[in-house]
């Protein structure tokens, strides 16, 4: 009986180890998703943003509704997108008051943060990759250093 208990304990241990190993996932760390330069796209008449180089295609309707309370407000307008080193998508454009931060998942982009920049709207915003940050410019002296969560550094005229 005692020996059968010992065998049972060993078998149980082996079973647990086997279960644990089958549940583990392969993870590659320190991946740089950053685009070297932002993508500047004009929203098509079908209200879509299409980027050929990065093979990104999405509707602009939800973004326009959120920013301008009009789902068609972005048609024919310029939208600037930059993917950060972390893989988050930073989206903004002229007259935007905010920079939108999206995280990708299967077949969708989910808003993780909306960084309020200017209550009157930006004039000529631009996004630069400054790892680990994303740099937001609007004119020569306006600068914000952004992460997915917050505005780190401000330089105003």
């Amino acid at each position: 009986m005692h020996s059968s208990y010992n065998i049972g304990a060993g078998g149980l241990t082996a079973l647990v180890l086997l279960l644990l190993s089958s549940c583990s996932t392969l993870t590659i760390r320190n991946v740089d998703f950053g685009w070297p330069v932002e993508s500047v796209q004009t929203v098509s008449s079908s209200n879509r943003i299409e980027d050929v180089r990065y093979a990104l295609s999405m509707s602009a309707a939800s973004l326009a509704a959120e920013e301008f309370q009009d789902s068609t407000a972005l048609i024919g307008k310029e939208v600037r997108i930059l993917r950060s080193r972390d893989g988050l998508y930073f989206v903004t454009g002229p007259e935007f008051r905010s920079v939108y931060v999206f995280a990708p998942s299967t077949g969708e982009l989910s808003l993780t943060n909306k960084l309020e920049i200017s209550p009157t709207g930006m004039k000529k915003p631009a996004l630069n990759q400054r790892s680990p940050f994303v740099e937001l410019l609007d004119g020569e002296s306006f600068r914000r250093m952004l992460t997915g969560d917050e505005i780190i550094e401000r330089t105003n005229p």
Partner: protein, 430 residues
């Protein structure tokens, strides 16, 4: 390279250099870099002297310095190119173009000399055009004075021949130096050739000469002998044009293709596939009109020679139908044994042979052999008539002489006194 192009490039440099220094958007930096890159490529492609290329080398150095600080960024931003490959590519293009331009300047074409030669030829051509207009005006005033008109026609013909010589010499000069089959130099050569063809306005000038000749035909009241120089002039013009047409069409098409390729590398070409550029087509059509007018006038004038002398022959409008018509007329005269003296002597010998033989004997019209055959046929018709008359007279003379001989021979026979035979016994009759 035009001064406008140079100015544009300079402005690009200034503005983009400023942008590179004061810029803050990476996107703008990339766009400015790419725009300057494209402008430099375009300038290199259109450069036609080594001096321009030397200047471009300096600009590439400045371009490299301006963007050196963005090198790491540009290596990623202009993927699949890198900053180094962009600069190296520009320098390689300068080197290749330098080779081509140097080849043309040293071995190919003495462009400056040819330009002077062209300018002189164009000036001569223009002065001949003025002279021709003055002769044409004179011709219109002289329509009633036949002898002075003939003299004016001679001057006009000489003027037209000089113009023909000059226009083809002009086009030959344009093509001079562009016959080398050197692929390296081909694109630059075609570009320069196209510019020179546009400058001399070759197709329009050739068209103009043909159109003027048609106008002159309408103005002139031509006689048989006048046609020889005009037909010869047309034939020479036609042969020269035939030799030139394909070359000219090919040059225009190649130059247009090279321009399209240069302007729209990577873009859809402005010229649809299969579309052929044939600037010579308009000259072909006017030459067809010239041919019809000249030969129509010639055959019409010749036919009138017969009709005005009431020789009713079948109408004709080319060499074959003329030959057939004359042969049929001669045959009918023979068959009917009609008197052909008027046709042979007054019309054929006096008018056709004297005034129309020369143009008819031209290879482009009837040809020497064919004319000689027709002339023999017509002459035989005359000779036959003379022979029969002669034979008639001869027969009459023979008959008269025969009759006379018979008559006299009989008379002499009947009038002879025959002495009576002597009596056999030696006594007289008393």
């Amino acid at each position: 390279m035009s001064s406008r192009h140079s100015l544009f490039l300079l402005l690009c440099f200034v503005s983009f250099s400023v942008a590179a220094q004061t810029r803050q958007s990476d996107f703008e930096t990339k766009a400015a870099f790419e725009q300057t890159w494209r402008a430099l490529k375009s300038s290199i492609a259109s450069a036609s002297t080594t001096a321009e290329l030397d200047s471009l080398k300096g600009r590439i150095d400045i371009f490299e310095q301006d963007y050196q600080s963005h090198r790491a960024f540009l290596d990623k931003a202009v993927y699949p190119e890198t900053f180094r490959t962009v600069i190296a590519g520009l320098r390689e293009e300068v080197r290749q173009t330098y080779d081509r331009v140097f080849l043309i300047q040293t071995q190919g074409v003495r462009i400056d000399e040819l330009e002077i030669q062209l300018a002189s030829l164009i000036q001569n051509l223009d002065s001949l055009s003025v002279q021709r207009n003055s002769i044409l005006q004179e011709l219109q005033n002289l329509r009633r004075s036949n002898s002075r008109m003939q003299e004016t026609i001679k001057r006009l013909t000489a003027n037209l021949e000089a113009r023909d010589e000059l226009i083809f010499a002009l086009v030959d000069t344009v093509f001079k130096g562009y016959d080398m089959n050197v692929d390296k130099a081909r694109e630059v050569q075609l570009d320069a050739l196209s510019r020179r063809l546009d400058k001399v306005n070759a197709v329009d000038r050739i068209y103009d000469i043909a159109a003027n000749n048609i106008r002159i035909l309408e103005l002139l009241r031509l006689e048989g002998k006048d046609y020889s120089p005009l037909i010869n002039q047309y034939r020479r013009f036609r042969q020269r044009w035939d030799a030139l047409r394909d070359r000219l069409n090919a040059a225009y098409a190649d130059a247009a293709a090279a321009r399209t390729a240069k302007q729209g590398k990577g873009k859809k070409g402005a010229q649809a596939p299969g579309e052929e550029i044939q600037p010579g087509a308009q000259v072909d059509s006017i030459l067809a009109v010239w041919d019809t007018s000249l030969l129509g006038s010639f055959w019409g004038g010749l036919y009138n020679e017969f009709i005005s002398e009431e020789i009713l022959i079948r109408p004709f409008d080319d060499a074959t139908s003329f030959s057939t018509s004359i042969t049929a007329y001669v045959d009918s005269m023979k068959a009917n044994e009609s008197d052909a003296s008027h046709f042979v002597s007054d019309v054929w010998k006096e008018r056709i042979d004297k005034h129309w033989r020369e143009p008819l004997s031209l290879d482009a019209v009837l040809g020497r052999t064919e004319y000689a055959a027709l002339d023999k046929k017509v002459s035989e018709l005359g000779e036959k008539k003379v022979d029969s008359k002669f034979l008639g007279y001869l027969a009459i003379i023979v008959v008269v002489l025969g009759s006379a001989w018979l008559f006299f021979s009989r008379r002499s026979k009947s009038g002879r006194v025959t002495p009576p035979p002597a009596p056999a016994d030696g006594t007289g009759s008393n």
